[in-house]
């Protein structure tokens, strides 16, 4: 190749070196000028330590509740329009069954459905004057989407209030949330805080029967047994049963504030405040059921069941119970952040302690230094000057790969470090192929210059093709891999591309530069 093209290629190499160094610098140096790009190579949880959680929301529960509520709304709407219905009740799954005394009532009801209940559709007519309704597909989808989004928001709020640096919270599929909490090392507390539904419900305690009666004779329809936790005199915990009406009077939906306050005996309790709508509802409910006991149920646990002595206005209430100081505080956070719209369970948890992460980095680096050190020495001994060029090409990969990782915000994981080391081990393959070809060409009597040209030229497609298959698998792996494995796929594919550049382009520039000008008689290879 002529001198002009060589100058141009030297320029490219210099630019790549300059840019990649500039982009890698923020990862290692802190006090850079403000205009300098600030993106860093971030470390994965397996290196930094932290918690990776996958939570699954039980959307079915939400759909069931929605169906029950819609049955209730339908019943109320029919009553308002004075349409007589024998029964309107939630049936199997998401079905709502309605029965009417005659055809005209049913016709009126159908008109009402058509006008006001667009989210319900008639599933079938099992008999005369009977309808079975269900939620429309669109409604089901909306409920699911809304629930998932609300769950995500709630968890985000809670994590923010908890104060974790750089949390990563994102949805996955239709009902899952992936939560990454770097640096966090108390999974117990994290799971408790994130996973607490914080579903606050106010339910009526049955006046006619005792829970003991229900335990013996079975729980009556529309009722349920729930338990409360009380501290007995000797300090032990006892479970106290309550017989409650299943349908809750109201929930914590309209709650605007929750904070820790002190009770009569200075015990911690949580004071809650409702918004105006919640306050009105609370007033109505307490007015309607004066004289009853109202259980305050949080996540299916009865905290207290005070008597309703009078109608309560102002939208304030207190949750007392056997709290510890920490429990009261976490509960207030959870309530303030809002209830999770659905119960969640931990589907996957991976926690890496900070010491293990540090060990992993150290061992990864040690393996890399030893492995690559061997390769570097071997190349220099085996190919001498040319081997040193190959070594330079290999080292050149570091700033390039790290710069790409930093720029695209990729995460470096332990498998990622393995991938990096592996790809650098493979990187000299390309140089070996080229050099062996050059040796062959020299043996067949070509001048060094011609041999270099032929060597690089002929080896190019072989190197390209052999790297392509590894690249294909790396890309598929990226597509289907998760977390750490993705890190491996990223460094492997970036490394392959980068090593092709250094082994074929950069090395060639060095060779051409060395051989240009003078008439080289010998080549150290």
């Amino acid at each position: 190749m002529d001198n002009k093209s060589l100058k141009w290629r030297i320029g490219v190499v210099a630019l790549v070196l300059l840019f990649s160094t500039a982009l890698v610098l923020p990862t290692f140096v802190d006090n850079l000028p403000s205009w300098w790009p600030k993106k860093k190579v971030s470390l994965g949880l397996d290196l930094k330590g932290g918690i990776h959680l996958v939570m699954g929301a039980d959307l079915n529960v939400v759909l069931q509740n929605t169906a029950a509520r819609q049955a209730e709304e339908l019943r109320r709407a029919l009553a308002e329009k004075s349409i007589t219905a024998i029964s309107v009740a939630k049936g199997e799954g998401l079905e709502i069954a309605a029965e009417f005394p005659d055809e005209s009532a049913m016709k009126e009801a159908e008109a009402l459905l058509k006008d006001n209940f667009g989210n319900l559709t008639i599933l079938r007519r099992p008999a005369a004057n009977r309808l079975v309704l269900t939620m429309t597909e669109a409604e089901i989808r909306t409920v699911k989407e809304m629930t998932a989004r609300q769950a995500l928001e709630t968890i985000r709020n809670r994590v923010d209030m908890f104060g974790v640096a750089e949390p990563d919270i994102r949805p996955q599929g239709e009902d899952r949330i992936v939560i990454q909490l770097p640096g966090m090392d108390d999974p117990k507390r994290a799971v408790a805080l994130i996973g607490k539904t914080a579903l606050l419900e106010f339910k009526l305690v049955d006046r006619d029967r005792t829970p003991e009666w229900a335990q013996v004779n079975g729980v009556p329809a529309g009722m349920e047994l729930q338990y409360g936790r009380e501290i007995a005199r000797d300090g032990s915990e006892v479970r106290v049963p309550y017989l409650l009406r299943k349908q809750s009077l109201m929930t914590g939906e309209g709650l605007v504030d929750a904070r820790v306050s002190r009770g009569q005996f200075n015990e911690p309790q949580v004071a809650i405040t409702f918004d105006s709508r919640g306050a009105r509802q609370f007033e109505r409910v307490t007015g309607e059921y004066t004289g009853y006991r109202m259980a305050i149920v949080l996540d299916n646990m009865v905290y207290s069941a005070p008597n309703i002595n009078e109608r309560i206005g102002g939208g304030r209430a207190v949750i007392s119970g056997a709290f510890s100081e920490d429990e009261a505080r976490d509960l207030a956070v959870a309530l303030r952040a809002g209830a999770l719209p659905a119960p969640v369970s931990v589907l996957e948890e991976r926690t890496v302690g900070p010491t293990l992460g540090a060990d992993s980095i150290q061992m990864g680096l040690r393996a890399g230094v030893i492995g690559l050190g061997l390769v570097l020495v071997f190349m220099a001994v085996y190919y001498r000057w040319s081997g040193v060029v190959a070594d330079a090409a290999l080292l050149f990969n570091f700033p390039i790969i790290l710069a790409v990782l930093a720029t695209f915000g990729a995460t470096l994981t332990l498998p990622g470090i393995f991938g990096l080391i592996l790809t650098l081990g493979m990187a000299v393959d390309a140089n070996v192929l080229v050099f062996e070809r050059i040796r062959e060409e020299i043996r067949s009597g070509k001048t060094p210059k011609a041999a270099v040209g032929a060597g690089f030229g002929r080896a190019f497609w072989t190197v390209f093709d052999s790297n392509l298959t590894t690249l294909i698998t790396a890309l598929v792996l990226y597509q289907f891999g998760s977390g750490p494995i993705r890190g491996f796929a990223v460094t492997l594919s970036v490394g392959i591309l980068s090593s092709m550049f250094t082994a074929l382009f950069f090395s060639r520039v060095v060779f051409d530069t060395a051989l240009s000008g003078r008439r080289a008689e010998r080549l150290s290879i």
């Binding site: 699954g56 996973g195 539904t197 369970s345 991976r350 926690t351 492995g371 085996y382 072989t462």
Partner: protein, 365 residues
Amino acid sequence: MSFELIKPGININFMGKRYIFLGLSVAVMCICLGAIAFKGLTMGIDFAGGLLIQARFTEQVTPDNIRQALDEAGLPTPSVQGFGEDGDNEYLINLQGDEELESDVARESTLNQRVTDSLMSFFGEDKVEIRRVEMVGPRVGQDLRQKAMSALYYSILMILIYISGRFEHKWGTSAVLVGALLGALYVASLLGISMVYLIILAVVVTVILCYTLKFEYALGAILALLHDVIITVGVFALLDKEITLSFVAAILTIAGYSLNDTIIIYDRIREHVQKSRKGDYAEIINRSVNETLSRTVLTSGSTLMVVLALYLFGGAVNQDFALALLIGIGVGTWSSIFVSAPALLFWSRPPKADGTNGAPAASAA
């Protein structure tokens, strides 16, 4: 002069003894397939679901102590395994059991909290350090299995397609092959066949198509690839090593890398075939293998050096990953010399080589 591990004029008679080498490979493959079929693969918690806790103790502790701690808390009996070096007092505590895993956190503490609590109360809170927890519930386990199968399927499919086009410069026929392959797979997937069988089907269909279309290079490459993957998986079955996500990553990497040496040798064979229209095919193949021997050994050697360092010094967490790479890349080097090159002789005639049909076991000149 320069260093040369393998002298330029080297001429080892690989093809003459090819039945011995191939026989060895076939025997090892049979053992490995047998191990996979009868011994089975041990699934790690990524795929089987389960709970894995890596705990380090400040005092001398035996696996029996740990089992006792869990037993006293009414938890199921775990499998306990030493981790790292002997004096570390570090253990992997492994619990499998699906129904306990996905706990509704609002109601009860998770299984791993209960295990952790039991260790803390048994040994004392400051005596235990929980270094790593991996809990995979059944739903996520199933997802990960699905994803791993998809990854294997698509990468193998893409490699097969690539191979069919790469080695034969008959793009029209290659397109027919790819079309037929994708068609067969589409029909099979409509029938709801599971991913495992789809992968096997893809391989079988490609092998048959390559055979009938006389794509001998593609066929040889595929056989070498199968050889490498089967042996790596088989060794893991024999050693009772766990199949994890990172093992799948290693298998895919091996599949990708396995072709490298094969490509180099095949390219050289093709070069010679095009140059000399005459000559014994076996001799041409043998010469090509010998000429490329030094680069085959050097490229694989440098990569193996690095993988060996990862295996020895990379830490225990990903040691199996390094082991898989070590086996796969080692076997891959063997297979490109002793499987893929002689495989050409089995199925094909020397392209336009005058008269000599097939291949008499030839000795190289």
